[in-house]
């Protein structure tokens, strides 16, 4: 654990230093969106990894936040800060509803229900058209809805450091929650629902809480994304985005929060930085996922950890 902390501090230092070292604007953009994506993936891990509920509709909470930012600022004329607050409320509320609905379900059925609810929101938003209050613009559909931002052209530096700070704070918060008493209860439910129930845990209530916490952080990532990109599109609600969350988490090691965050950040930066098209990127992620699930069921980080632990046991725990 001590080594991990050191490595994380080194990574954080390098990320803080990179823009000063004259990174070109494209890579700056790749990393900024990577920070927001990584934070979203971390929020999936709260419900999907720590609490072990197979959610395949996590984009619903992310997209609910980006769409409410867009609709409230552009259509209703709210200031961005108020819209962001309302967006957080909405995505948390949506998570509470999904959590309540899936409280009685198990394993694959939660996957089906969350998938169906996410796709439902996606389809409704594809079919929905909005008319701008001034002028005759038509918004909605695949093109999405613009977000009215309080600034004209955001400085890429400010966006980079803002997103990085957001990632640090949210990842720290999610890690704290995962290690809290509540997080321990979620881990127990994930291990065996029956055992948790037998020990007197109100499983339905704690499952719902896990959904709410995950929805809150996913919504925060969505608000950040809306502020950065300035547009809510149907991609924000897509099954591909939900799938990516589960994929990065599986690759990074479910239930560790840090693993999924790092997997998302590294894979996104490498593939997008290399100019791979979105379709090819998702294809590569799916391929990587199948290989990881088949050969490293605990994720790459989990497999490494097991190897290190095994080596420690061989050498009698002498090395740390």
């Amino acid at each position: 654990m001590r080594n991990t902390t050191g490595a994380l501090a080194l990574g954080a230092g390098m990320l803080l230093l990179l823009p000063l070292a004259g990174l070109d604007p494209f890579l700056l953009d790749v990393l900024t969106s990577g920070f927001l994506l990584a934070s979203y993936v971390g929020s999936w891990d709260i419900v999907g990894g720590v609490a072990g509920q197979i959610s395949l509709g996590h984009a619903l909470f992310f997209g609910a936040a980006t769409y409410s930012c867009a609709l409230l600022t552009s259509l209703a004329g709210w200031p961005f800060a108020a819209a962001g607050g309302a967006a957080l409320l909405l995505s948390t509320g949506a998570a509470a509803v999904v959590g309540t609905m899936s409280a009685r379900l198990k394993g694959p059925f939660i996957a089906l229900l969350t998938l169906a609810l996410g796709e439902l929101a996606h389809e409704v938003m594809i079919g929905q058209t909005f008319f701008s209050p001034r002028g005759a613009y038509s918004w909605g559909g695949e093109g999405g809805v613009p977000v009215a931002l309080p600034w004209d052209a955001p400085s890429p530096w400010a966006a980079y450091y803002g997103a990085l700070l957001f990632l640090f704070v949210s990842a720290w918060g999610m890690r704290r929650i995962a290690l809290s008493r509540e997080g321990l209860v979620w881990t127990a439910i994930s291990g065996s629902e029956l055992t948790a129930r037998a020990s007197g845990v109100d499983v339905a209530r704690h499952k719902r809480r896990a959904f709410v916490a995950a929805g809150l952080f996913a919504g925060a990532a969505g608000v950040g994304f809306a502020a950065y990109v300035g547009r809510a599109t149907t991609t924000d609600l897509s099954l591909e985005l939900s799938f990516q969350a589960a994929t990065f988490a599986a690759i990074g090691g479910r239930g560790t929060v840090v693993g999924p965050v790092l997997a998302a950040l590294i894979l996104h930066t490498v593939f997008r930085g290399a100019g791979v098209s979105p379709a090819a990127r998702v294809l590569l992620y799916a391929l990587a996922l199948l290989l990881v699930l088949r050969f490293f069921p605990a994720g790459v980080a989990g497999a490494l950890r097991q190897r290190i632990r095994a080596r420690k046991m061989i050498s009698g725990g002498a090395i740390r």
Partner: protein, 287 residues
Amino acid sequence: MHPFAQVILDGLFTGSTYALMAAGLALILGVVKVVNLSHGAFFSLGAYVAYVLSGKGVSNPAAAVLLACVIAFAFGVFLGKSFINPVRSHPFSVAVGSLGFAILFEQAAQMLWGPHPVSIGSGPPWGELSGVVVRRWGAVSLLASAGILGGLALFLSSRWGLPLKLISEEEEIAGSVGIDVEKIRYLTFGFASATAAAAGALLAPATSITPTMGRVPLILSLIVVIASGMENVLAIFLLAVGLGLLSNIGAYLLAPQWSYVSLLTVISLLLLLRPGGLSAADPGRDY
């Protein structure tokens, strides 16, 4: 009256083909005991096979169905043997992995054939009955699906189907009496994938072919399997035809996308009202 009668007839044809696919999904649920989210990808695979063949001048539906079945069987055996069988006791790996396979196929199809809908000619109609056109694809689909489903029902009730029934009910006993359970599992997976591809190839002339076209029949098949269980082939058939009719009428009265939205609503409600449904996917343990 006539336009509506046409919608009902086409819905009957579509629904009977969806029944074929749902039966495959039910077979996977019963024998392999997993909820397979890659089933829709095999449907799209079948449709694209028919599209490529018709581009090469082969418009015989039998050729498309056969080729689609063979390709899907090969992929299905591969997926079943080298992925689903080893991870089938991990619900997370099965759900996310089978979805991953479907998304892998969707992206590959998007890169090969483009993201925009393509279509193939549906050929001359077979006949007309007081203003209602009997389309060729429709008649072929109904006959082929009824034929394959009938064959499946016959196979399951014969002595050759006993190992499948035994695995579905008592898998430990099946292993102990010398049945190669793993082999039957991946062969079943391959066969079931072939039924989905056959359904896709049969319905290719009737729909616009897109990389994500398999999601609608996947949800429809899941509804059928949750609601009717997997014992009764006739119940699967009737339910699939009913849902096919419903989604066709919805698409006709509202807009094509609403058939997907209504199916998604139905499955969400169904899961809420019947949380214990699909009990076969829960192999007697706690997740």
